[in-house]
């Protein structure tokens, strides 16, 4: 018998695909990592889940965090903008940027986690989905090796940043 609450592995797996803000931010992390090359191509997708867990724990314990929606929208703008402008951030700076935004994304997921039926499977699903979106971003980054590929990936970054600006307006309530 179920509890009627959303939960379980499949529900967690679907969750990051259900919101455009999370989806674009995760893809951007992989895409920017691929843009920056080693070691950030793997450092960013490793930093993100680690800090997402920190955010999720803050969310689970309902530790107040200011403007979560604003932080998430800002992550889409900044990450998309970094790709569009081909920002070659140093390792420490890129890691800090991604780590800070990961806390906001983790917080939003973590707040929902305790009310999910079977939260352990739910968390397994959404961590896996998050990781797969990073991999999708890295795969899109492979376009950089093709002629005019950099133009294509930078254009994707511009589109992501533009959508992010729309999300930012919505989050601010303008």
């Amino acid at each position: 018998m179920g509890t009627g609450l959303p939960g379980g592995f499949v529900s967690g797996l679907r969750h990051p695909f259900s919101g455009i803000d999370h989806l674009l931010a995760m893809i951007s992390v992989g895409l920017w990592g691929a843009f920056l090359g080693r070691p950030l191509i793997y450092a960013l997708p490793v930093v993100f889940p680690a800090m997402m867990v920190v955010g999720a724990i803050l969310g689970m314990f309902v530790v107040p965090l200011p403007s979560v929606e604003l932080g998430i929208a800002l992550s889409v703008v900044v990450l998309g903008g970094c790709i569009a402008l081909s920002v070659r951030a140093p390792v420490w700076a890129a890691s800090i940027i991604v780590a800070v935004f990961a806390v906001f994304h983790g917080y939003a997921h973590g707040k929902e986690l305790p009310s999910a039926a079977d939260p352990v499977s739910y968390s397994a699903g959404f961590v896996l989905a998050t990781g797969l979106l990073h991999v999708a971003g890295i795969c899109l980054g492979l376009l950089n090796d093709l002629p005019n590929g950099v133009v294509a990936t930078r254009s994707m970054g511009a589109v992501i940043a533009t959508v992010g600006i729309g999300l930012l307006y919505r989050a601010i309530g303008l």
């Binding site: 018998m1 509890t3 793997y42 867990v53 939260p119 352990v120 397994a124 896996l128 990781g131």
Partner: protein, 157 residues
């Protein structure tokens, strides 16, 4: 089935960084530990302790992929015994021995992992390891919250 599966995946990822000569002793150590301990029953009152040990083991085993050197033989065998102990313990307090059989093939992830490591393409292995660590850390935290942590039946079950 998820806790033993995560233990076996973490062990498989760690073995990907171990020398080939460590594979057989490690897998044998795992199977012998499981065979010896699956017949034992942990007291149900220890469920939270057993799961805490399981999640800590998942994190420690998966984190070993970030070691600078390759995993030595003794460490690979020690990880295998530790994973066997906690996998047997978790199915003893929650789930069935059949879950162990279903989850055991997850260890075979060491084959593709070692291939990638040998080709100096260990990035995907490290990324997957970070996912496993994240899941275990979240699961461990859920134990500290006043919610049904998923491996226990809730009030409707």
């Amino acid at each position: 089935m998820l806790p033993p599966a995560l233990l076996f995946v973490a062990l498989g990822l760690a073995l990907g960084f171990a020398p080939r000569r460590a594979w057989l002793p490690s897998v044998l150590a795992l199977l012998l530990t499981l065979a010896a301990l699956t017949l034992m029953h942990a007291p149900p009152g220890l469920a939270n302790t057993v799961f805490a040990g399981c999640w800590i083991s998942v994190i420690a085993t998966a984190a070993s992929v970030h070691l600078k050197r390759e995993l030595p033989l003794w460490a690979a065998v020690a990880f295998s015994v530790n994973v066997g102990v906690w996998a047997a313990a978790v199915v003893s307090v929650s789930g069935s021995r059949y879950d162990l059989l279903k989850a055991l093939p997850c260890v075979s992830i060491f084959l593709p992992a070692s291939l990638l490591v040998a080709r100096r393409a260990s990035i995907p292995v490290k990324v997957v390891s970070s996912w496993v660590i994240a899941i275990a850390a979240l699961a461990a935290t859920l134990q500290l919250l006043p919610v049904t942590p998923g491996y226990l039946p809730d009030h409707l079950e």
